[in-house]
């Protein structure tokens, strides 16, 4: 590494000169000059008036000419390079400079920092244009850039600043851990991960894991790094070693999201059932498997189904991978009334996935109302008492039932029936008002003996309509004792 230094430096010096010497007279560099001016002006108390034409941001909101717009059009016009205007950087030498990983990266770091572009923060410590004319810049600490016998603290500090460093000398376990602890003490996740990458390469995994166990911050960085790298196997192994079996189970279960083929997905979910989930989650994963299994069966038979219902309402999408409730809705829509023995029947789905009565009624109501089969809707709520009279009962409030019916464009007669079932008078009245169930409104006002409201409501009715006449008849009825 140290041997490579002189020629390297030379290369960069050369390339620097080639690349960035700009002649003030040369018009071709007017763009850079503009940059210079802008940067200079930051530190000038009195800005000159070029600000307006520098600030060309488009406030008008017309996206034409904007970058996102242009990308959408995937760029059409545009002249291909008249290259002569720009200085060339000879990049070939960098290809030949190959060496071991970390030393190379340190060389590279050092180069790009001193010769290429400086970090923003640093550049502002310099009061001048030097940033944009790198040939004027002296690397801050050239001499030190390749020193390899740095202590852990100095090493991580240099890493944070993007200066040259070398980790190869940290060979004993103790040194490695010191390095890691220093990185953690610096709070810089980028450096922590860099050190972890080095440790991962240079330590047996069991040793590394043992040391990570009491180091929570480093451990979390390591886990995240493995996740990002897609090293699923190693990740699972590590979680198991850490005794975090539930996390491991979830992590493995997550894989199913990547499996496109439903058959393979189903098999994978089956293999997940035995993973060490918490008790509740185990049930859910079992459900997930069962659900997909059923969906595959239903899909296979419905895909080419030509029954009446499928003709009238062709399926818009496959049922695969839909939630349980959506599956139930589907089944209430296409397979209503099938015996409980068939997988596709609502009864079977309801039972298999332990769906509450409330949820079931809500879903079935939605599906049957969508089909405008009001008879089915009625029978959802009908119960017979011991004398054989039918009565309507619902685990969800009847005002909700009305909402759902109304959203499915139920006729007024159906709506009225359910509005009438609302127990609470005020709620009944407001629902009736909302959905213009005139008859109920009129009756309720009558029952409330509220003459004024009733008379006022007349304004909303069409003259000579049956409702209007009914209202008139009630208002003229001398037997009612109005409260106002």
């Amino acid at each position: 590494m140290t041997r490579a230094k002189p020629e390297d430096d030379e290369y960069w010096t050369r390339s620097k000169l080639k690349a960035f010497t700009f002649d003030d007279e040369d018009d071709k560099f007017s763009q850079l000059k503009e940059s210079k001016r802008a940067v200079n002006s930051i530190f000038d108390e009195d800005d000159d008036d070029d600000e307006d034409d520098v600030e060309r941001v488009n406030w008008s909101g017309e996206p034409v000419g904007s970058i996102s717009w242009s990308v959408k059009e995937t760029a059409s016009s545009g002249h291909s390079g008249s290259e002569q205007g720009f200085p060339k950087i000879d990049t070939t030498p960098s290809l030949s400079k190959r060496g071991s990983g970390y030393s190379l990266s340190s060389l590279f770091k050092a180069k790009s920092k001193s010769g290429g572009f400086q970090s923003f923060s640093e550049s502002f410590s310099d009061t001048s244009i030097r940033t944009y004319a790198p040939e004027l810049r002296k690397p801050k600490s050239d001499a030190k850039d390749f020193v390899s016998d740095l202590n852990p603290e100095e090493t991580v500090r240099r890493m944070r600043k993007g200066r040259g460093y070398s980790l190869e000398k940290f060979r004993s376990l103790q040194d490695k851990l010191l390095l890691l602890d220093e990185a953690v003490a610096l709070y810089d996740g980028n450096v922590i991960t860099a050190v972890l990458i080095y440790l991962k390469k240079s330590l047996n995994k069991e040793i590394l894991w043992r040391e990570l166990m009491p180091r929570d911050v480093a451990l979390r960085h390591y886990l995240h790094y493995l996740k990002e790298m897609g090293e699923q196997k190693l990740l699972l192994e590590l979680l198991r070693a850490l005794g975090r079996t539930e996390d491991m189970a979830l992590m493995q279960y997550k894989e199913h999201l990547n499996i496109k083929d439903e058959g393979k997905r189903k098999d994978f979910l089956k293999s997940c059932i035995s993973l060490p989930f918490s008790q509740d989650d185990a049930t859910h994963v079992q459900d997930h498997y069962t659900l997909l299994e059923r969906q595959i069966i239903i899909e296979a038979s419905d895909k080419n189904a030509d029954g009446e219902i499928f003709k009238r309402f062709p399926r818009k999408a496959s049922i695969l991978n839909m939630p349980i409730i959506t599956t139930l809705y589907y089944s209430c829509f296409y397979h209503y009334g099938e015996p409980e023995g068939t997988y596709s029947s609502p009864a079977n789905i309801r039972k298999t996935f332990r769906i509450s009565e409330k949820q079931y009624i809500l879903t079935a109501l939605g599906a049957r109302a969508k089909l405008k089969l009001w008879f089915d809707v009625d029978s959802l709520f009908n119960t017979k008492n011991w004398l054989g009279y039918t009565k309507k009962k619902s685990p969800i409030g009847f005002h909700r039932v009305v909402d759902i019916l109304q959203k499915n464009n139920a006729p007024i007669s159906v709506l009225q029936e359910y509005v009438n079932l609302i127990d609470d008078t005020e709620l009944k009245l407001s629902t009736a008002l909302k959905y213009k169930c005139h008859d109920i409104v009129i009756n309720t006002y009558r029952d409330m003996k509220d003459r004024q409201q009733l008379a006022a409501y007349g304004g909303k009715l069409e003259r000579d309509s049956p409702e209007y006449r009914k209202m008139q008849a009630i208002l003229n009825n001398g037997q009612i004792k109005w409260k106002n």
């Binding site: 690349a19 990308v71 790009s112 709070y187 810089d188 911050v217």
Partner: protein
């Protein structure tokens, strides 16, 4: 509109457009490092920020031929120079490496350059090395730390900060946060005082301090009096509430992206969508952005009347007057007309959408939760919300609010709500629940005992030195929100039944219809008032400590009443409105620096597992 009038003695804000110019110049410089014609690939989420500082003409001037969005798919470019402008993400770097390798295999020679922004990570270099393309690709950093979104909003445009830092525990952006502050300090002058709360805030402060010590000292008059750093996880309640202030509502419904929003045909009442910049340059918007939505209609119709009067002036004008009118006023009036009809359209469309989803009832439930009132009814409402399969994010949001305000759910509620949720929205949300639990957003109540046992067990396993770190980790796992106690202590929820005139807001609670003062903003107010954390010991204890205060080395000058508030993990438009209100009350100005603008949907979506 008392809101929009600034107090006369409120200080002027520094000119942040300089940040854009500097970023653009740096980008130009970097593009020129790869001379000649080249195709440029841009990360999708960098396109909007880039649009704010440069445009296609500028890129073309620097020999960018074609522009592509990074899609991690096969590349069709025929150029022999490819430049990639990306966030430092492993996936993207892998994709580029594959591209280079397939070019090599096909015997194709191209030059490649990756420009990482705002910085490069070692893990990215490592990929290049492992894939055998290190040296075939030149890399650079574009230190584009801060995008000014408005006069008083600076954004790091790093939405992933939230998940990386709080969920994954990855501190990769800590130094970025420090560098952003360091940049502001160098360009605009130093600060006199620093306060903060939160683990990440503390680290960012440390990082900034160290960069300051390493850097050259510049003596400059301070332009900001104080800085306040706050972690998003100090206050999760506020960003999870429905926004009802105009700007926040627009963000919730239409999603503002880099202060630009796309209004669809329902707003424009034509068949086209248009993109609009929403910032202080839009005179109409500027007057309504901080207003409670209920005031906006009245304001807009008044404005429309005024406009009509101004147009009507034309009647009875002679030629000369007409000429001046057309020259001086007409353009302005037309512009105003355009903006006005746009915002009226937006308001109408939002009204419609909100009525359709029974917004009133939703708000009522949120307010009950904040107040701790009729919790069973709230749970019933949430249950029904879930069983109707309406908006998954809203269901999740309500569940989190319930958990945060109640210090966790009772076991039986947790189980049944979770089961229902999985039935309605998909069983794979098991993973979502695991993430929410990890963050402390949605948890099952645990008896104090279980916790102590767990801690002491772990304590025995490891040596003393690390016990502290571990208990830190555990306390974050078992984090209690203590919302009720905090709310009482800081009087966040006004007594119910009191009338609250939203036209004349009396405190920051107006941003939530008078129902709740945002905890984050209340903390800022209290600390600034007390010039530190003294007297707030009980509050900080309930927030898991991690508060700090210090002098930032700048000279204190009381004339400077500009306060910088940095949100680590994102802040909402409602919080910005609240701070603007506070500033107006106190005769100071707040500048918000945030890692990204967030809202409930963005925050929760960041915790879903769509990809494995």
């Amino acid at each position: 509109m008392a809101q929009t009038e600034r107090r006369r003695d409120a200080p002027e804000l520094p000119d942040f457009s300089l940040l854009k110019r500097v970023a653009r110049d740096q980008l130009i410089f970097l593009l020129e490092q790869l001379p000649g014609s080249k195709d440029l690939f841009i990360d999708a989420d960098l396109m909007s920020p880039l649009d704010r500082i440069a445009n296609v003409t500028i890129l073309k001037q620097h020999e960018v031929d074609k522009l592509y969005k990074v899609e991690l798919k096969q590349v069709v470019s025929t150029s022999d120079q490819l430049c990639f402008l990306i966030r430092p993400r492993i996936q993207t770097v892998k994709w580029i490496s594959d591209l280079v390798n397939s070019d090599k295999a096909a015997g194709r020679f191209r030059r490649y350059k990756i420009i990482f922004t705002p910085q490069k990570f070692y893990a990215c270099d490592n990929i290049l090395e492992e894939q055998g393309v290190y040296g075939d690709i030149t890399t650079d950093e574009w230190n584009f730390y801060i995008l000014p979104l408005d006069d008083d909003i600076l954004s790091l445009e790093l939405p992933e900060f939230f998940r990386d830092n709080f969920l994954e525990g990855d501190q990769r952006w800590v130094t970025t946060g420090g560098s952003a502050l360091y940049l502001l300090q160098n360009m605009y002058g130093s600060f006199s005082k620093v306060y903060g709360i939160g683990r990440c805030a503390k680290m960012v402060y440390e990082s900034w301090r160290e960069q300051m010590e390493d850097g050259e000292k510049r003596i400059k008059q301070p332009e900001f009096a104080k800085v306040f750093l706050i972690d998003r996880d100090v206050d999760f309640v506020t960003p999870l509430c429905s926004q009802v202030v105009y700007e926040g509502l627009v963000d919730d419904i239409f999603r503002i992206k880099c202060s630009s929003v796309e209004f669809g045909p329902d707003v424009t009442s034509s068949d086209k969508s248009i993109k609009v910049m929403l910032n202080s340059q839009d005179k109409v918007f500027n007057e309504i952005r901080n207003e409670h939505f209920s005031n906006v209609f009245g304001f807009l119709s008044q404005k429309a009347k005024n406009l009509q009067t101004a147009y009507d002036k034309r009647r009875g004008m002679d030629i000369q007057q007409m000429k001046t009118f057309v020259a001086d006023e007409l353009k302005g009036l037309k512009q105003e007309h355009r903006l006005l009809s746009l915002h009226i359209g937006a308001s109408e469309s939002m009204m419609k959408k909100k009525t359709k989803q029974d917004f009133q009832e939703l708000l009522k439930t949120e307010h009950s939760l904040l107040e701790g009132f009729e919790i069973r009814a709230c749970i019933a409402y949430i249950q029904e919300h879930i069983s109707r399969q309406v908006s998954m994010i809203d269901s999740l949001r309500l569940l989190c609010l319930l958990s945060l305000t109640e210090n966790g759910l009772l076991s039986k509620d947790y189980r049944s709500l979770k089961s229902q949720f999985l039935q309605s929205y998909g069983i794979h949300h098991l993973l979502t629940f695991a993430n929410l639990r990890q963050l402390g957003l949605l948890v099952e109540q645990q008896s104090g005992e279980t916790l102590t046992v767990m801690e002491s067990k772990v304590g025995k396993l490891v040596n003393d030195k690390t016990v502290g770190k571990l208990t830190d980790a555990f306390s974050s796992l078992a984090k209690k929100s203590n919302f009720r106690a905090l709310s009482r202590k800081l009087a966040l929820v006004p007594k119910s039944g009191e009338e609250y005139d939203l036209r004349v807001p009396r405190d920051m609670a107006y941003i939530f219809s008078g129902a709740y003062i945002p905890l984050s903003c209340k903390l800022i107010e209290q600390v600034l008032e007390r010039d530190g954390w003294t007297g707030l010991e009980e509050v900080t204890r309930m927030l898991n400590g991690q508060e700090f205060a210090g002098s930032a080395g700048g000279h204190s000058s009381d004339a400077q009443r500009i306060i910088l508030v940095m949100f680590l993990g994102g802040c909402t438009y409602s919080e910005i409105s609240a701070l603007r209100f506070l500033g107006k009350e106190r005769g100071c100005r707040f500048i918000v620096v945030t890692t990204a603008i967030t809202n409930s949907a963005r925050l929760l979506e960041a915790l879903l597992e769509n990809r494995a």
